[in-house]
Subunit: 409 residues, 2 copies
C-alpha cells in the first residue's frame, strides 16, 4: 500500500505539444504487461539528461551518454522494462545500439538521435529483437495524450503509476509541464531502477538543458532514498519541445523563466516523492530536514545517515519513539568535529533532544503520537551554521524483506 | 539461531593470572538477569583501548578516554547492560564518574584507574546508584575462572555468550589469551552495542597497548558489520597483566612477540566473527573478500558497500543468486575511476562474472548451490592492483525487522 499516493487522473495530465507516446507489449517480461514505451519527439525539442553515478552503469546508460554528447538532438526515447541490460559487457552495448538503429530507421533519423533506457533484471541478455519487432506498433499507436499509459508502461514493482502535471506563464504564454517516474527499490527481482521523464512545451535553449536536468534532479530525485542502493540504470530526462510559441529561454533571469523552472521542480519533486511513497514495503513517508550546518553538503550527509539507517527505519515502521537511534546516526554521519552538546532533535513539533541530551519536557507519549502518523518530519539542528538540506525516505518493514527475498519468478 | 556458533565450554577458557571477575544482578535491566560485570586488574597490568568513532559517543566512552589518557593504569573495569548512558549530556557524564568514584573507593585506588562501560537503551538516565550498590557483592564474588560468566553478564540481545581462548609461547613461557565480546546489531530495543575485552598474562610495555588495541581491532571488530549502524558505545579493551614471568615485550620484533600477537588476533577475530554469527536475525555467515585494488582502503570500501546493501543481504537470506545486486554495489562503492570491464566476481569457487559481464560458463544452478550454504565467500577482483581486504557480515532476514521493530519492553 503506497503512502498517501493515488493513481493519476488521466484528464489532469496535460499533453505536451511535440511529444507523442506509444506503449506496447513486446514480451520482454513474461507477465502479460505492456513493457515497451516509445516517446516520439519533434525536431524543435531540446533534451537534457542525468544518469546514475554507479560505475557499473548499464549499457543503455552508456549509450544515452554517448548519444546526448553527440549533440544531434533527440527524436525518440525507447524504454523497456523486464531487463536492465546491465552487467552485460560489450554484448549489452551492441544490443542497446541495435535497438537505437532499428528505431532510427523506422523514423528516418540518425541512431544518435535515439536514447535507449532499460530497467529490470541485471546480468541477463536483453531480448532486443523483441523490442525491435514492437517498434512499428508503438509508432502507429503514438498519441499526445498517452502520459497515463506511459506511466503504467514503465512500471515494474511499482504499485501505482506516477504522473504529475503543472502549468506556468512564460511571456504571457501558458506552458505545460508533465512528467512520469517509476521506481520502488533498486533492482529486480524488484526491477525497480528509478526512471524519470519531464516534458514541457516551453522553449529552452539546448545549452541550458544538461544543467537544468542536473538542477531539477538535485531538488528531487537526488534527495530521495528507499534502501540506499544506487541502481545501475537510474536516468532522468528533461524534454523542452519549444512548441508553446514564446521566445526561447537562454537565461534563467529572463521574465517568466523562474516560474517555469519552479513548475518543473514542483513536478520533479512530486515524481521523486511518489517513488518513496510507493517504496517497497513502505508504510510511512518521512521528511528528514537537517538545519544549522556549515554547508548543505554536511546537512545532506547527516540526513542520508538517518534516512539509510536500518535501525531508524525499523523504529519508524514500529511507531517506536526509539529516538536515540536518530542521534546515533547523526553521530556516525562522518562530520569529524561534530559537537554533540550543540545538537537538537525534533519530531514534527515535539522537541525531543536539546544540547545532545533528552529534553527535560520530552514525554514518550508525545514522541509516540508523532511516530504513529503516516507523514513524519524529523528535524535535526546541528548548531554549526545556517545551511540546511532535506531528504525524503520511507520506513523499513517486513514487506521490504519479503519483496526482496522472493525468488525471481 | 546463530550461524555455526556454540556456547563456550567454560573449562576451555584459560583464566588470566591478574584478572578476577565478579558478575552480579544490580537491577539495571528489569529482567531477572545479571547486568553488572566487574573486572579487577592487578597493578602490574598494561591496558589499551579503542572506542567508537561515533561523534554521539556515550558518557562512559568519554570517561574511558579521559581515564586512559591520564596514564595512571587501570585497576578495574565496570560494565553494565540495560542502559547505554548515551545521549544523556552532562548529567550522564556525572553518573559515569560517580560510578568510577564508588568502585575506586571500594578498591582504594584512584577514580582515573576505573573504566566504565555501558550498553543498552539510549537517552535514558543511568540508574547509577543501583550499580554502585552492587559493587561490594561483585568484589566479594570475583574469581579468576569466571570468563564464561562474564561473557553471559555482558550479553543483551545476544543469543549465545561469546568467549574464546588461545595460548602461545613467549621466551619459553606459555602465555594465555582469553577474550569475551557481545553485540548483535546496534542499540536497544536491542541493546546491542559491540563490547570486546581481551586479556593475557603476557607482559607488554604500556606504551605499546594503544596501538596494539587499534591493530587487533582493525583485523577483527573493524571488519564486521551487521546493519552498518555504528553504536554510540562500541569499546574494545586489551589487558596484559604481565604475570606470566617473561621479560616485557617492548618491540614486536622480539622473539615470541609475534606468536603472542597472532594468538591475540586469532581470539579477537573469533570474538568479532561471533558477533556476526549471532547477528540479529542472521541465518548465514558471509565473507566478503575484495582483491586487486590499488590499496586496502578501496578494497574495504567495496567490501562494505556489498556487506551493507539491504538488497544483497536479502538475496542471501532468500538463497537467491541475484548476483547483479553485488555488481551494482561494487559500482556505487565510490571508486570514481572504476572500470567495470575489469571486474570479476566469484561465489566460493563459482566464477559468476568476468570482465564486468556474466561469465559464459556460469550456470544459475551453480550460484544457487553456493547461495544455499550457511557459510559463503563473495570474492570480487577489481583488476586495478594487488591490495586486498576482507569484511564479515550476515544476511538480512524477516527476524531482523521483527527484532528491531518490537516496541521496547
Amino acid at each position: 500500500m503506497p503512502v498517501n499516493l493515488l493513481p493519476p487522473v488521466a484528464a489532469a495530465l496535460h499533453p505536451i505539444d511535440g511529444v507523442r507516446i506509444g506503449v506496447v507489449q513486446a514480451g520482454v517480461r513474461k507477465a502479460g504487461r505492456k513493457d515497451v514505451t516509445l516517446l516520439l519527439i519533434e525536431p524543435s525539442a531540446s533534451v537534457g539528461g542525468v544518469f546514475t553515478q554507479n560505475r557499473f552503469c548499464a549499457a543503455p546508460v552508456q549509450v544515452c551518454r554517448e548519444h546526448l554528447a553527440a549533440g544531434h538532438g533527440v527524436r525518440a526515447i525507447i524504454v523497456n522494462t523486464g531487463n536492465a541490460n546491465a552487467g552485460t559487457g560489450e554484448d549489452g552495448l551492441m544490443r542497446a545500439r541495435a535497438t537505437c538503429i532499428a528505431v532510427a530507421q523506422a523514423l528516418e533519423v540518425a541512431p544518435e538521435q535515439v536514447l535507449p533506457l532499460s530497467t529490470g533484471v541485471i546480468m541477463e541478455p536483453l531480448p532486443h529483437q523483441r523490442i525491435i519487432d514492437a517498434v512499428p506498433q508503438a509508432i502507429a499507436l503514438a498519441r499526445a495524450d498517452a502520459w497515463g499509459e506511459a506511466a503504467e508502461g514503465i512500471m515494474t514493482t511499482d504499485t501505482v503509476p506516477k504522473a504529475f502535471s503543472a502549468q506556468a506563464q512564460v511571456q504571457g504564454v501558458t506552458v505545460s509541464v508533465t512528467g512520469i517516474s517509476k521506481g520502488a527499490g533498486m533492482i529486480r527481482p524488484n526491477m525497480a531502477t528509478m526512471l524519470g521523464f519531464l516534458a514541457t512545451d516551453a522553449a529552452i535553449a539546448p545549452e541550458l538543458m544538461r544543467d537544468l536536468a542536473f538542477e531539477l534532479s538535485e531538488g528531487s530525485f537526488n534527495r530521495v532514498t528507499v534502501d540506499g542502493d544506487t541502481s545501475t540504470n537510474d536516468s532522468f530526462l528533461v524534454i523542452a519541445t519549444g512548441r508553446a510559441g514564446h521566445a526561447p529561454i537562454t537565461d534563467w533571469a529572463q521574465p517568466g523563466a523562474m516560474a517555469l523552472k519552479n513548475a518543473m521542480l514542483d513536478v520533479a519533486r512530486q515524481l521523486a516523492q511518489a517513488i518513496v511513497r510507493d517504496g517497497e514495503g513502505a508504510t510511512k513517508f518521512i521528511t528528514v530536514r537537517v538545519e544549522g550546518g556549515r554547508d548543505a553538503l554536511e546537512c545532506r550527509q547527516v540526513a542520508y545517515a538517518i534516512a539509510h539507517s536500518p535501525l531508524v527505519k525499523t523504529a519508524f515502521y514500529a511507531s517506536d519513539p526509539n529516538l536515540g537511534r536518530i542521534l546515533a546516526a547523526v553521530g556516525y554521519a562522518g562530520i569529524p568535529d561534530l559537537d554533540q552538546t550543540r545538537i537538537d532533535l525534533y519530531l514534527d513539533d515535539v522537541h525531543v533532544a536539546r544540547q545532545g541530551g533528552r529534553h527535560p519536557d520530552y514525554r514518550e507519549e508525545d514522541g509516540q503520537r508523532v511516530m504513529k502518523q503516516t507523514e513524519i518530519t524529523v528535524r535535526v539542528v546541528l548548531g554549526r551554521g545556517t545551511a540546511t538540506d532535506t531528504v525524503w525516505t520511507c520506513d523499513f518493514s517486513h514487506d521490504y524483506v519479503s519483496i526482496n527475498a522472493d525468488y525471481r519468478s
